[in-house]
């Protein structure tokens, strides 16, 4: 009997949380199909949620504007960051995983520190660096460089942990069969390390896709990504909410898709960065 009360209570908590987290997202998606923003006062819940003719107007409006170019920038920045992170991270992590000394043991502390760096203070330094010293301001390279500094160490760390678990006998066997180091890495290690590589790709992608402060400070128009574009709405008093929610819906699609199909990799990546 007592067990049942606990169960019911648990389900109540979960349902409450699901409403708290689900409803805002559903609200955003529903609102993006509304024709115009409208006042809600004096309506019933049914009217609020369903009494309107769905339309793609908001989507047509935003896709005709500068949003499309910014979306392309976002895609370029996020995918390049992921690819460069893997291209540099995999060999580095492999080498480190196969080397045991004081340096590799202390690496973890350094790796964590780059993820915890106080972003606001760093952003000013990067701003001066990119505007006055290296002329990268308002280019995608500026953002890719910054995102790499935040993500490369974490990627190396996650990959390293995984590579260390790969039995060295496998490599020895391959080498006896005449494979070179590089062949061992690409033919033996990489295929069995797929979970780690997927985890790293997703975590780095989501970071670069969602990052706001640097995107906002280091770009103006040419290399502007979606979060920086969205910030232009901040000062507006009467916001065009259907357009705003349409932007939000399109922009959260990757996260939605990834959570549906690769939830366990996201969970692993997020917690691995923090614990270990």
């Amino acid at each position: 009997m007592k067990l049942n009360i606990m169960r019911i209570l648990s389900y109540l908590v979960i349902t409450g949380a699901a409403v708290l987290y689900g409803v805002p997202i559903i609200w955003i998606i529903v609102s993006s199909f509304k024709p115009v923003s409208e006042a809600l006062t004096g309506y019933s819940l049914g009217q609020v949620l369903f009494y309107f003719t769905p339309t793609l107007n908001a989507y047509n409006r935003i896709l005709a504007g500068p949003f499309t170019a910014d979306l392309i920038n976002s895609i370029i920045v996020a995918t390049s960051t992921v690819l460069i992170c893997l291209a540099l991270g995999v060999p580095a992590a492999y080498r480190l995983a196969r080397t045991k000394n004081a340096f590799t043991r202390n690496l973890a502390a350094w790796m964590i520190s780059t993820r915890m760096a106080p972003v606001f203070a760093l952003s000013l330094s990067f701003f001066i660096l990119m505007t006055r010293i290296i002329p990268l301001y308002d280019t995608v390279f500026a953002l890719i460089t910054v995102y790499l500094t935040f993500n490369l160490s974490l990627s190396i760390w996650i990959l390293m942990g995984y590579f260390e678990g790969v039995p060295i006998e496998l490599e020895r066997a391959a080498m006896i069969d005449g494979a070179s180091r590089l062949q061992t890495l690409t033919k033996i290690i990489l295929p069995i390390s797929k979970p780690a590589i997927i985890t790293v790709s997703i975590i780095v992608f989501l970071f670069s896709w969602n990052e706001f402060l640097f995107a906002f400070l280091l770009t103006s128009t040419a290399a502007r990504t979606v979060p920086a574009f969205v910030a232009d709405f901040v000062g507006i008093v009467v916001i065009d909410w259907p357009a705003m929610t349409a932007i939000s819906t399109l922009f959260m699609l990757p996260a939605l898709i990834l959570l549906t199909f690769a939830q366990k990799y996201i969970v692993k990546g997020l917690t691995m960065g923090a614990l270990k």
Binding site: M6, P24, I25, W27, A121, N210, F212, V230
Partner: protein, 258 residues
């Protein structure tokens, strides 16, 4: 960055002389600086406490073998994987007193008429704290859940045989074994809260007045509205010092716990 903090970087000046501690002295003479220190302190204390408490409740609930755990977990962590700037706007919309689901519909139908939520200093602060907790609790939940899953179930079985109830096994098994994980969660959340910027920027831009002007927003306004990068960097240095002191203290607690 320390170099920036002791030099004079003002807009449109071409040379940047070193000015020693002038930036710090000027910063300390601003009433606004103390305001943002206070707002940040309140923000950090409230968001850390509530996001960890909420994360703990969620993880304890989902750590049982319940049906549909995966689906619930996906729904709960979705907001954390969406850009903070988007979730910030989402809540600005939801809180809107004319068109928002919460501000224009739910609160009035519960008989609460507080007008514009983000336009009132106290409500705005509560709102930004709420949204931060809403966004970050899922991450705390994941970390704590990982910690819970590391606790061997045999311990609970043994406790049950010894006649321990749910509450006492939580107090004597779960909490002590979870202490390390909880401290890590606190460290991560403190760093995150000290550096809070995105969501507050889109929701209130530090306003109304300076009611939600945390250190990050204050620094941003100094750097790009008053165009004084030097002084903003001085503020940045102070934020780093605050983080380092807080983390060093927490790491000491952590080492004591192990």
């Amino acid at each position: 960055m320390i170099y920036l903090s002791i030099s004079q970087w003002k807009a449109f000046l071409l040379d940047h002389p070193l000015v020693g501690v002038t930036n710090f002295v000027n910063l300390f003479s601003l009433a606004n600086f103390y305001n943002s220190l206070r707002v940040s302190a309140e923000f950090v204390a409230l968001t850390v406490t509530f996001s960890i408490l909420f994360g703990l409740v969620l993880s304890l609930t989902l750590n049982q073998n319940l049906r549909g755990t995966n689906v619930f977990r996906a729904i709960i962590i979705l907001p954390f994987t969406i850009a903070p700037i988007i979730t910030g706007f989402t809540w600005r919309y939801l809180f809107d007193s004319n068109q928002g689901l919460v501000g224009a519909f739910i609160l009035p139908s519960l008989g609460i008429h507080i007008g514009s939520i983000l336009g009132n200093p106290l409500n705005a602060l509560i709102a930004v704290v709420f949204v931060d907790v809403w966004t970050k609790a899922p991450f705390m939940f994941l970390i704590i859940l990982a910690g819970l899953q590391g606790i061997s179930p045999s311990l609970y079985r043994a406790a049950k045989i010894d006649g321990a109830g749910a509450l006492s096994s939580f107090r004597h098994i779960t909490l002590p074994l979870l202490r390390k994980v909880l401290i890590i969660a606190v460290i991560l959340k403190v760093i995150d809260s000290v550096n809070a910027f995105d969501q507050i920027y889109v929701m209130t831009r530090g306003g109304p007045g300076n009611a939600t002007q945390v250190l990050g927003i204050h620094g941003y306004l100094i750097a790009f509205s008053s165009s004084d990068i030097g002084q903003a960097s001085a503020l940045g240095v102070i934020m780093v010092i605050i983080s380092v002191v807080a983390i060093t203290f927490l790491i000491r607690v952590y080492n004591k716990a192990t």
